[in-house]
Symmetry: C2
Subunit: 195 residues, 2 copies
């Protein structure tokens, strides 16, 4: 960020009085330009024991398999965002949707909100950001050509819950260290316990 | 938004090619400035059957009671944000934290992520954004002087779960219509069911 989006003056990168973090502050109108994480909403869409995946028609990870998901827009709910992305990327309609997992990815300031739901009629076809859409049995999941770690982790949790006969809402985080090694932390499932 | 934060040229408000929403687009460098919802993370902090509330020392809702919560920062997790806000607003330390509820508030493009956790030692004192901090029994909660609807709804869900002997992870949305009437929708608890 170089200029104030409000008045067009140059911005400085410094800690505002009473704050403890570097912010972009306008040298003209003193406006502080806060920057915050973005939400990516998506869905594990089920149909007859299969799960819907799409191949990406866009970068990054062009040609790899992913769950339908994308940046949440202003003036919508996380559920609407997940439903919209499934419609846009796979022309697929959802019902019986509920939150399945949320992952924080602090090194890229993203928070994933992954729902799970049923495809209304099993139909899907590629939207403009997809090359292909396909329903996969657990045994057919292309684990080695999934686009993002969060897709792999969400699917692992999903099949583990399904095979155990009970779904939980999962919460966790993933990050990369300086050598780009990925670490995934799934928080304990504690929501059901009375402390 | 009037100016491009990258190059300082004026922006236009129009729909980019291949998109279906109005965006701010730079007339100089063509950069599209996406705007996305912000996350507010907070915590229902328990201690000996009581819950921690703070009175707000800042606008909006100066002097009203709230749960410790605030805007999530870049490069942190939602759990770190909830813990940090509890520390900053109430000088209180948490343990045994787990996600309790998430609410989308589309008319103001906010998503709340409310955790629940235990106070390590029961200690709290006002941070710079609080006038007072206090532990409340369920019977003492100041329902008529709570700062925000999301605080009231989170506490209602919390005590309902606690009294029923089982906590769930809740998901819902709240919005205001043109007459400013608030509507709250709590999604059904379905996570535990195998479909």
């Amino acid at each position: 960020m170089n200029y104030c989006s409000h008045c067009g003056s140059q911005v400085e990168h410094k800690i505002p009085r009473g704050d403890n973090r570097l912010r972009y502050i306008c040298t003209g109108c003193d406006l502080i330009h806060y920057q915050n994480p973005r939400i990516i909403a998506g869905c594990i869409a089920e149909y007859e024991n299969k799960v819907l995946l799409c191949t990406r028609a866009i970068e990054p990870r062009h040609g790899l398999w992913t769950l339908p998901a994308g940046f949440m827009e202003n003036h919508e709910t996380t559920l609407q965002a997940a439903t919209r992305e499934t419609q846009e990327e796979a022309n697929a309609r959802l019902t019986s949707i509920s939150l399945f997992c949320t992952y924080s990815i602090p090194h890229i300031s993203q928070v994933y909100m992954m729902y799970k739901g049923h495809l209304v009629d099993g139909y899907s076809s590629p939207g403009v950001e997809s090359l292909d859409t396909q329903l996969f049995d657990e045994e057919q999941i292309p684990w080695d050509t999934l686009a993002f770690p969060v897709v792999k982790e969400s699917l692992k949790l999903y099949f583990a819950d399904r095979n155990a006969g009970k779904f939980h809402v999962h919460c966790g985080e993933m990050s990369r260290d300086e050598s780009q090694q990925l670490s995934v932390l799934n928080y304990p499932i504690e929501a059901g316990k009375i402390s």
